[in-house]
């Protein structure tokens, strides 16, 4: 089996907050179409890593590169990173509460996001098709015209994933997708994420070990801002250092 091409390269990234080293010369490589899980105890730097990739936090040093684009994401603003095909789902579900489900997707859908265009823009046929496909995929077609604020917690999580899909990103960053979900919702989310890998490159940060076990191809363990271990779930669970800092606790 040939190895898929490299997709994202994080090289020697450090972030310090008031003397606290959130990321410490961290390097990480992710392949095209991979579904990667990132785990680690609280404060390991998981969310900071997401912030760095998406342009929310500027690192003190290091580069984040989309290999195909050869651009350094750390030099871009958030909305520019999005335009390079990186989509992010936050830990807490954040949807536009006052807008309907379909308007949420409309706001997220791929296409020009400039203010002058937006004055006169209408959805084209392709965008409408994308929205319909996404609605189907996240199972919210019957709630399309309801206000997003009225959705259940799990539905909001899916809507947010749907908004990501509507952007047509190449890379999906998903922060704790199953926090607060019921068992059934968790299973559906696992299936959804697995179906996305391949076409997309997916990076999931998660605390729920059962969930990670159910979806993971490859797991990276972060600890104190560094990569502690990397490999299959079985290998990770057997690693004594990992057991010590995380699993055993």
């Amino acid at each position: 089996m040939t190895r898929p091409p490299l997709f994202l390269r994080i090289d020697d990234v450090s972030v310090t907050f008031d003397g606290f080293r959130a990321l410490d010369h961290l390097s990480l490589a992710i392949d095209q179409g991979e579904l990667r899980c990132i785990i680690g105890p609280n404060g390991a730097g998981k969310t900071t890593l997401m912030d760095v990739i998406t342009g929310k936090t500027r690192p003190d040093s290091g580069t984040v590169q989309l290999v195909a684009d050869t651009c350094d994401l750390t030099e871009l603003a958030e909305h520019e990173v999005v335009r390079h095909g990186v989509g992010r789902k936050f830990q807490r579900p954040t949807v536009f509460q006052g807008h309907s489900v379909i308007e949420n997707l409309e706001l997220a859908v791929h296409g020009s996001k400039s203010v002058w265009r937006a004055l006169f823009v209408r959805l084209d046929a392709e965008q409408r098709r994308t929205i319909d496909e996404v609605l189907d995929r996240i199972g919210l077609a019957d709630r399309a015209h309801d206000e997003a604020g009225t959705l259940s917690h799990g539905q909001k999580q899916w809507l947010e994933i749907g908004m990501l899909l509507a952007q047509r990103p190449k890379l999906l960053l998903v922060d704790e997708p199953v926090a607060g979900m019921t068992h059934q919702e968790t299973e559906r989310t696992a299936a959804l994420l697995q179906s996305l890998a391949g076409d997309h490159t997916v990076v999931v940060v998660e605390h729920d070990m059962d969930f990670v076990r159910s979806i993971a191809q490859k797991v990276t363990v972060l600890h104190e801002g560094r990569v502690l271990a990397e490999g299959s779930m079985a290998a990770i669970q057997a690693d004594p250092r990992v057991v010590e800092v995380y699993l055993g606790a």
């Binding site: 998406t54 929310k56 603003a77 958030e78 909305h79 999005v82 335009r83 989509g87 992010r88 936050f90 954040t94 949807v95 536009f96 509460q97 006052g98 807008h99 379909i102 308007e103 409309e106 706001l107 997220a108 996001k113 400039s114 203010v115 937006a118 004055l119 006169f120 823009v121 209408r122 959805l123 409408r128 098709r129 929205i131 319909d132 496909e133 609605l135 189907d136 995929r137 077609a141 399309a144 908004m163 952007q167």
Partner: protein
Amino acid sequence: MSTDPSPTTAPRGRYVLHTKTGWMVFAATATIALVVVPLLNRLPSESSVLHVPDFAVPLLGKFLCYAIVALALDLVWGYAGILSLGHGVFFTLGGYAMGMHLMRVSAGEGVYRSELPDFMVFLDWKELPWYWRGFQSLPFALAMALFVPGALAFVFGYFAFRSRIKGVYLSIITQALTYAFSLLFFRNATGFGGNNGLTDFKRLAGFSLQDPNTKLGLYVASGVALAASYLLCRFVVAGRVGKVLTAVRDAEPKARFSGYDTVRYKLFAWTMSAVLCGVAGALYTPQVGIINPSEMAPSSSIEMVLWVAVGGRGTLVGAIVGAFAVSGAKSWLTASLPSAWLYCLGALFIVVTLVLPRGLAGLPDAARKLRATFERRRRTGAKVDARASEGVASETREERA
């Protein structure tokens, strides 16, 4: 995944400005303001009850200008979530641009019969400062009435939004902005008439400002400007830009991560809002006959916010209604019970915040809800009564048995 998505779930390709009823209400209101009121001013005899007296025309015209400001404020506050406590500065700058033109065309007719405005003669200035040049041309003055507030808003907004200053911090800075400008304009040396501002205007475009017909013309112009501003704002908020603005208001980081440069969207709404205020100011000055720095005082800007709060934010219509209701009440109260106005203003603010968070525009909804609650209570109450009487009946039956 379906390959043939049903078209019913797709959002419609076009946005709707108004429903049919909405357009009818708009047309009716515009007709009353632009046709009926002027006719009632011109046609009936002065003793008739239907007559709109001459003094009321510029007063109503002033309210129309206020309504444009309220619209502009609603655009940034109601939709984009930017609470400005300094919109008075944009309004007043528009007013000054027009005031400067009016001073220039009245040159030679002042108390001192000088080519310079009276206050400059009084200060013993020999020639016109450079920034007064060009204002004898009406088109130039009108362009400046739009450009100066717009440019100030653009520069201020660019730095504020880029630094991600939000919420109460932004409100305080806008308040400081208008206060700083009022201090600047209060100074005689600034060259805008200091404390007294600009006044003693004679004519506009050749028409005497004392002539009731000119006043009526300005009133109609204000009405047209309000209608146009309303449609423009409606166009912006009904389309994608409006949706992005509300998205920014509700969850700005998420909007950024959806690919929107939120700074540009905010800057667009903010600058457009300031330009509308400039239009309102330019129409306000000739109708009121004076423009001075007190319009830039922080309290004036806060009163503007109150118009929108009372009318109901994020509806546009509410802003217009609020501007008329509050400034109407002010005109009436300051004439009949001058000492009571400030108390009424304070009380109004409290009542709106506590009881009517969505303002007058929220009243129909609130009333509907209240009625629904009463209905439900009455129905369940009736059921309880019925059950109670049934219970009594069955008990008596049991007793009998």
